[in-house]
Structure formats: C-alpha cells, structure tokens
C-alpha cells in the first residue's frame, strides 16, 4: 500500500458531557478514497471539523506526511493542504464563481485591486482538466446545487489541497449528479489527491470507496477494504443492531378518494408558473408517489396542498371539502399530517424545546390549553410519552430541538404529526439526509399508515424509495405531472427517463413546453 498522507491519533472531543469523538484513530493513504461511514450524530462531521480547524480537540494529534501539525484554524488546515467540501456549501450566492473561488486567497493586479481575469483563467483550466464545466463569470446563486458543489471542489483545487474531505456530498444531489460527482472524485484520485468521503449511504460507499471506516457513537467500530466488505454487516455495524433492508408490502386495499387535485396551477416566487394544471387523487389505503428531480414544482405543490400558498387556478378537495383556499389550520384539523421537505425551516421551531415542538399542531386545544393558558403538565406528559414511544434521543424532552440529530428531528415531526387521528399524510422527502436506521423506521411507518387505511402522498426525489413504497407513481417534470402509472406496471428505468422529461413513446426526444401541456394528465 502507498504512503500514509494523513494520520489522526487518539482524537477526543467532548461537548459538555457528550463525547462526540472518543479516541479515534484514522489513517489515509495517498490516492485513496476512504469512506467514513456512520449514522447522523455518530461524530463524523465533528471529527472532520477538528481536522479542518473549526473545532479544537480535547486530546489527540494530527500527522500529515509523517509530520505532526498543529491545526488551530481553517487557515492552518488550508496551508497544510487540507480542503473541505462542507455539507452546507460555503458559497456566497450573490458573488460570481470567480469571486467565490478567489475569496481569502485573492490574486491582485497591483495594490489591492483584484485580478479577476487571471483567476478566471485558472478556474477554466481546472474546470477543463476535471471536466467540471464551470463558467467562472456565472453568479453562484443562479447555478444548480450540483454545479455549486463543483465550485466547492474547484475552491480546494485552487488552493492546491491534497487531502480532500467531502462531507455528505451526495445528500443534496440528484441521481445523475451523483454519477457525475463520482467521475470527478475518481479523476481527482488519479491526479494523486487523497479523499475522505463522509456518508451514511451504503450503496455509495460500495461504489466509490477503496476502504471503509465505520463510526458509531464517537468510536471507530470497524474498518475494512471495500472489496471485502458486506453491505448487511456494514449496516449492522453502523446502526448497532441488525437492519432489515427489505420492505414487505401487503396487497393494496384502496378505498375512497381522500385527496383530489384538479387542474391546479401555482405561481412561484419569480411570478412564473411552477405548477401547471396538475391533477391526481390519493385514495384511502394507498401510497401515491410523486417522483421527479428536485425543483420541478413538487415543493410548490406540497405547499399548496397544506395551505401555505394558494393556487391561481384549479381545485383541491380533501374528503369532499374544497380546501383550495383553506387555511393551514383548517387543513390540519380535517386530518392532514404534513412531514415537510425542509424539516428545520418548516417543520420545527429549532430554538424551542422538544416538548413544545411536539404540540405545535394542537397547542390551542385541550388538554394542552385551557382558555388562553398553556397547560405545562399536559405538555410534559405528552412529551414523555412520545419521546418514549417514538424513540427520540436524547430522552430529555426539554432540550432545544436544534440540538438533536437530523434523524431525531424527523422523529419529533413524525411523532407530532402522526400521534392523532389522521386521514392523509403528505410526506415530502421524508428520508432526505437521514441515516439507515431512521430511513428504515420512517419508511415502515409510512407503510403501516397505508395499511391502516390512511391516504399517503409521498414526494421524493429518491427513485428507489418511490418504487419500493408507492402503489401508484406520478412523475413531475417542469411543473406538470407527465405520467401516472401503477408502480407494478412500470419499470424503474422508465420512471427515471420520465423524470428527465424523456417521451417514452419517442425516447430520442425530450418533451417541449407545448407537449408538456398536451401531455398533462
């Protein structure tokens, strides 16, 4: 095996009483892709923030090329040749690509005057060398998430980083973009870079990495070469118990229509029609999946269904009642549960305690409120019960929900939304960013609801999830639902093609806007 470029020895980092990293030892070889696998909250990101100088470790040492280094700040890390692609991009949307890349490491013509042209030329060279297709003059805010990530990579290359840390790089990407990312990652390795790839997605680990290091509860619990690794064992190591990766679905027993959407059109922020004459219905006891690449109108559609925005035309009916212009509260009271796409922005009050977040949809009703007074006892009892039955960790319902891991935040939302009689569940990207254990839990819960006779609308960009869970699937492309099929009657590959706007009857062509209108169902 080639030389060791990076070695972490005995890294320990605590936050209060909580040990996020407990005596972690990791080595990285030159030209290697090391997958750091673990659930959310296992301590992967903490470890990398220590390496990048954002956190100061309580104990432990870092060696680069055999030399002990003292990393106090991101600047030290950059100078030591370490670069990081953060999970939440560190890009400034109102800056151009060039400005983002040069920031902190600016080329100047004379005095303090920026040399944008020179930097842009360097960016073009890097972009060509790694086939990244980046236009240095574009505004970052106008670019897709996939392109933004490439800018992050260019930022590291521009600084001549040799050790690249990628924190959950695939979490925000579409399947196609993930494929392109992997190509980039491989070409980086060919150029002699070494990569630490943080993820919780087993499939990706098996596809991209050379070696795997599993972290659970702040400790390294297993290491293996990828070619020797077994998916089920990895999953069990990661979660700490055997995981059932296969979903079993009982036969469909669909009842009457719960949600009816007729010819709904919605205007987006830019005064542009984001949703175009969409019609479908969801029946009792079925899961209706909406597949589509992010940004094809799903977000706006869901917001309209839960009453946050109103369509400019068309009708939405819930259990026969017209809710097109109804308030979110009315829609909730009719028995709708909403698991929002952006759980931190739309699903939780991050600074509030878990117990308060658990009653956000019912706080004004007895037993939580009597007249205008909040009943603390009832709220605490409710919280204690739900924290236990939904396995929300930590068990203390009085911590701010912001302190919880992503999976546990999702459990808080699920607990709140489902612990009352409901007729319809609207689940938008319910497993995004969750770890294996939480995905398993969430998906099983949705199937259980279906079997109990609830109508479930599942909006997801994960094709596998749609195909496994839904009974019927509608594909959204540029604001229109271009096809609805029974999941049993269409293959996954065809749904993937539809997501890209390919006309299945004439696969050479991508649907034009006019055809979209004609095709809308």
């Amino acid at each position: 095996m080639s030389e060791i470029v990076l070695e972490l020895r005995g890294i320990t980092k605590s936050f209060g009483n909580f040990k996020a990293n407990d005596n972690i030892n990791i080595t990285l070889h030159k030209g290697e892709i090391l997958a750091l696998l673990g659930e959310n909250g296992a301590g992967k990101t903490t470890l990398m923030n220590v390496l990048y100088g954002l956190y100061k470790p309580d104990q432990g040492e870092i060696y680069i090329n055999g030399q002990k280094v003292n990393i106090q700040s991101p600047l030290d890390a950059i100078n030591a040749g370490i670069g990081m692609v953060h999970q939440h991009f560190m890009l400034i949307p109102v800056f151009t690509v060039t400005e983002n890349v040069m920031l902190g490491n600016e080329q100047v013509k004379y005095l303090d005057v920026l040399d944008r042209a020179d930097t842009a030329t360097r960016i073009r060279k890097l972009s060509d060398a790694y086939k990244l297709q980046i236009n240095p003059d574009a505004l970052v805010g106008d670019l897709s998430v996939g392109l933004q990530q490439r800018i992050e990579i260019i930022k590291l290359l521009y600084r001549d980083a040799d050790i690249l840390i990628m924190d959950e790089p695939s979490a925000v990407l579409t399947p196609k973009e993930v494929g392109e990312l992997f190509l980039t990652v491989r070409s980086l390795v060919e150029e002699g870079k070494s990569i630490i790839f943080i993820t919780h997605k087993l499939r990706e680990v098996m596809e991209i990495s050379n070696r795997i290091c599993v972290i659970r509860a702040g400790k390294v619990v297993g290491e293996a070469l990828t070619k020797d690794a077994d998916v089920n064992r990895l999953a069990a190591l990661m979660v700490g118990r055997p995981v059932d990766m296969n979903l079993t679905k009982s036969p469909l027993r669909a009842g009457k229509k719960v949600l009816e959407v007729e010819n709904v059109s919605i205007l987006g922020r830019q005064q542009k029609a984001e949703v175009n004459r969409v019609s479908f219905d969801v029946r009792e006891g079925e899961i209706f999946g909406i597949a589509g690449v992010q940004g094809n109108g799903q977000t706006e559609l869901v917001r309209a269904l839960v009453g946050l925005i109103h369509p400019i035309e068309g009708r939405i009916k819930l259990l026969g009642e017209d809710i097109t212009k109804a308030s979110p509260r009315r829609i909730t009271e009719l028995g709708t549960a909403h698991i929002p796409e952006d759980r931190q922005a739309d699903g939780l009050v991050l600074q509030s305690e878990v117990s308060d977040n658990l009653i956000l949809n019912r706080y004004y009703l007895p037993p939580f409120a009597k007249k205008h007074l909040i009943q603390t006892n009832a709220i605490n009892q409710n919280a204690a019960k739900l924290v236990e039955s939904y396995d929300i960790r930590p068990r203390n319902p009085h911590v701010p929900v912001a302190k919880l891991s992503g999976g546990n935040q999702q459990k808080v939302i699920i607990a709140r939304e489902l612990s009352r009689p409901i007729k319809l569940v609207i689940a938008a990207q319910p497993t995004r960013g969750l770890d294996v254990g939480s995905i398993e839990y969430t998906q099983k819960r949705l199937l259980q609801l279906r079997d109990e006779g609830c109508a479930v609308l599942l909006v997801s960009t994960e094709l596998d999830e749609i195909m496994q869970l839904s009974d019927r699937v509608g594909v959204m492309y540029r604001g229109s639902v271009i096809a609805i099929h029974n999941t049993s009657e269409i293959v996954k590959e065809d749904v993937g093609l539809l997501m890209a706007g390919v006309d299945l009857t004439n696969p050479q062509k991508v649907l034009t806007s006019q055809q979209l209108v004609d095709k809308s169902v």
Binding site: P74, H86, I92, N105, D112, A273, I312, E313
Partner: protein
C-alpha cells in the same frame, strides 16, 4: 384553444401588480391635466433661469408656455402608464419611476411659477448642497452594512460630529475642527462596533441607544454652554466657503451646479467614486462583502470575520463624522440642537434606494436633496400648497421609497446577525 386562454390567465395574474403602478402613472397624468392647467390661460409663460447667481457664465433663459408644457409632460407620463399596463417595464421600472417622478416635479414647478421665473441652476445647486450629508451618510451606511453590521447610529454620529467640529473649529481653525468631527464619528462607531461585534448586541438597539445618547448629550452642552452669550465664542466656527474648480466650473449648468461648491462636496464626489471602486474591485472590498453575506464561508477561508467587521464599522463612523461636520462647519457656521433633523435616517433610505451600491445610493441622495431643495424654493412662491406641507416632501419620499414602491431591495444576507465561531 382552451389551453391558450389558460396560459393567458396566468399571464394576467402575473401582471396584476404592475397594473397597479401603471394605473398610478395614469392617475398622476390626469391630476396634472385637471389640477395644474385649471387656472392657466393659453399664453401664460414660465421662465427658467439657467444662470447661476455667483457664476460668470451667462446662459439664455428658457421660456416655456406653461399649459402646453404641462400637457406634454402629462401625456408622456400617461403613455408610460399605458405601456406599463400593457407590456410593463419589468427590470427598468425603478429607472422609469425616477424619470416619471422628475417629470412630474418639473411639471409641478412649471405650474407653481407660471407667469414668473425660477432659477433652475440655483435650485440644482441647492440640491447638491442638501444632498452632501445624505450621500456621505449613505456611504457610511453602505460600509457598515456591507460588512453585516446594521448602522442606524449614523444620525447620532453625525450629530455628535457636528457638535465637536463646531466647538473645536471655534477654538482653533476649520481644518482641526473637521478632523475632530471625523474622529468623533469614529469614536462613536468604535462603541457601536464593540457592542455589536464583540458583545453581539442587537444592532438596532445599540444604534438606537447611540442616537438617543447623542441627542441628549449634545442638547445638554448646547443649552448649558454654547447657546449662552457667555460662551458664544465656542459656537462661532465660521464655515468652508465654496470655490470653483477650474475648467469644470465653466461647463454650462453642470459647472456651477456641481463644481462651485465647498470642500465637503468635492470630498463627497471622491468618496463615492473611491468607495464604489474599493467595494467591488479590491481584495478588501471582496472580503468586506463576504463577511456581510456569509460570515461562516468567509471564516472557513481564513478571513477574520469580527476584525473585518469592526474595522468597517469604525471606518463607517469616520465617514459619518465627515458628513456630520458639514452641518456646522460646512453649512451655517454654528451648531444648533438636533440640527441633523433625521437626515442620518434619510441617508439610510438613500442607501436602500441605491441597493447598497455607492453610485446608486448617491443618486438616491440627490433625489432626496432635490426634494429638500424644491420644498425650500417653492416656499417663497405663492403656491396653493402650504409651505409646511412642502417641507414634508423629503420625508414623504422616504416613506414611499422604504415602503417598497421601488420594489423590495434586499441587503446583505447576514446584516445584523452577530457572528459566533463554532464552540471550540
């Protein structure tokens, strides 16, 4: 066929908002035709005098037929309204709004002074004078806000600087007074920076406290000492006189308006140009903007967020100090209680109007300066509108600008948010 009407339906809703503004233009045009032409006969003339009182160049007077001029202007505004209704100006709307505003004001002037004459050059010259503290204040605001610290304390900084500049200039000379005025602004900004950046106080509260403090302390010393006859020598600084810039001042109309001013105006021109270049073309400016937009991103690239912000706020204070000194030693040659009269806030309105861009904000400053100038000028004519109402004009325009008629202007993303590094 049905599908076409559907897409038209969407289109019509999109333009509902624009229609309201188009209708506003048309109403404006009708108001002009109905009100402004009422008491005018066909031969009344308005004379526009283009020669500056203290200038050596003579320019011919412009004589207009009042009624025809007003009708022509009304027709232009009306057509703009119709265009907005049917097609829409889209992104150019702010510019069109500005032009319509100027046209309407011009029509208003023509009506007000019909049968008489008005010195346009004088009017514009006063506009520049009046816009000096507004534009300098807006530059101070831009510097601070671009770094992510909201600075509503500009009013207080300017008021304090006006006071110290006046007192020190009375004791020594104008230049020392100016220097002390600038430093006063910097000192107060240092307090603001300490509170907002180091102690992570709410920016608006810190600014409000500074403003209240500045009013209190200057009013106290003013009333107790410098307004009393015993200490009158403390409030007699004199002021900087206007001087002509060779060549430039010979340009017709523009010359006497812009290049026959005092040192404050010239410093203002330089400041606007330098700041505009520095913010957008230099390393310093790039880093300044980065900490105001996304401090964490800047931090991960090794930029010292809090140090950058502190320096920006102090520099902002120095500039506000310059603007404040204008009130006493650049204008009337004495300090009066609360003499800034909310212009620090109007400066912020100019900043927002200009979308945190120095050149555009200077345009906003000129607009407000023009409003002040016109309300002063028309007060001496026999206009049907009481002068007190005219004096409200700058503030009314501020409300309109901030009320979002110009469209919602979005400032630096991290404005007003203290930055805390990760728990280490």
């Amino acid at each position: 066929m049905e599908k076409e009407t559907n897409s038209n339906n969407i289109q019509s809703i999109i333009f509902l908002k624009n229609k309201r503004l188009g209708a506003l233009f048309i109403i404006l045009a009708l108001v002009m035709v109905v009100l402004f032409t009422q008491n005018l006969d066909a031969i009344t003339q308005t004379t526009l005098n283009l020669t500056h009182a203290s200038s050596s160049i003579m320019t011919n007077d412009l004589v207009l037929n009042s009624r025809q001029t007003i009708i022509v202007i009304a027709v232009i505004i009306g057509l703009a309204g119709i265009y907005q209704l049917i097609i829409g100006f889209r992104s150019k709307f702010t510019l069109v709004l500005g032009i319509v505003f100027l046209l309407f004001t011009f029509g208003f002037i023509v009506w007000s002074v019909s049968g008489s004459s008005i010195n346009i050059t004088g009017l514009l010259s006063v506009m520049v004078v009046r816009s000096i503290p507004l534009i300098i204040g807006a530059m101070a605001g831009i510097l601070s806000e671009r770094s992510g610290v909201v600075n509503i304390a500009i009013e207080g900084m300017m008021l304090s600087a006006a006071f110290t500049a006046s007192v020190v200039a009375s004791l020594t000379n104008l230049w020392v007074g100016l220097l002390v005025g600038i430093l006063t602004g910097g000192l107060i900004a240092w307090i603001h920076a300490t509170m907002c950046v180091k102690y992570k106080a709410n920016n608006v509260i810190s600014g409000t406290i500074i403003n209240l403090f500045a009013i209190g302390i200057t009013s106290y010393f003013s009333e107790k000492y410098i307004q009393s006859l015993d200490y009158a020598y403390l409030n007699n600084p004199g002021f900087f006189f206007p001087f002509e810039i060779p060549l430039f001042s010979k340009i017709p109309v523009i010359g006497p308006v812009f290049f026959n001013q005092n040192i404050f105006a010239y410093l203002m021109y330089i400041l606007v140009i330098v700041l505009n270049f520095a913010i957008f073309q230099t390393k310093w400016g790039l880093r300044l903007r980065s900490v105001g937009e996304h401090p964490k991103a800047a931090d991960t690239l090794g930029i010292k967020v809090n140090r950058t912000r502190t320096r920006a706020v102090i520099l902002s204070g120095l500039i506000a100090g310059l603007g404040g000194s204008f009130f006493s030693i650049g204008s009337i040659g004495s300090f009066n209680e609360q003499m800034t009269a909310g212009r620090g806030f109007i400066a912020l309105a100019a900043m927002i109007f200009g979308k945190w861009n120095p050149i555009n904000a200077a345009g906003g400053g000129l607009l407000f300066g023009f409003a002040e100038s016109i309300s002063l000028k028309l007060a001496i004519f026999d206009v049907a509108i009481p002068s007190k109402i005219l004096a409200m004009l700058p503030y009314v325009i501020t409300i309109i600008v901030l009320g979002g008629v110009v469209g919602r202007n979005i400032g630096p993303a991290a404005g007003g948010q203290p930055y805390e590094t990760e728990s280490k």
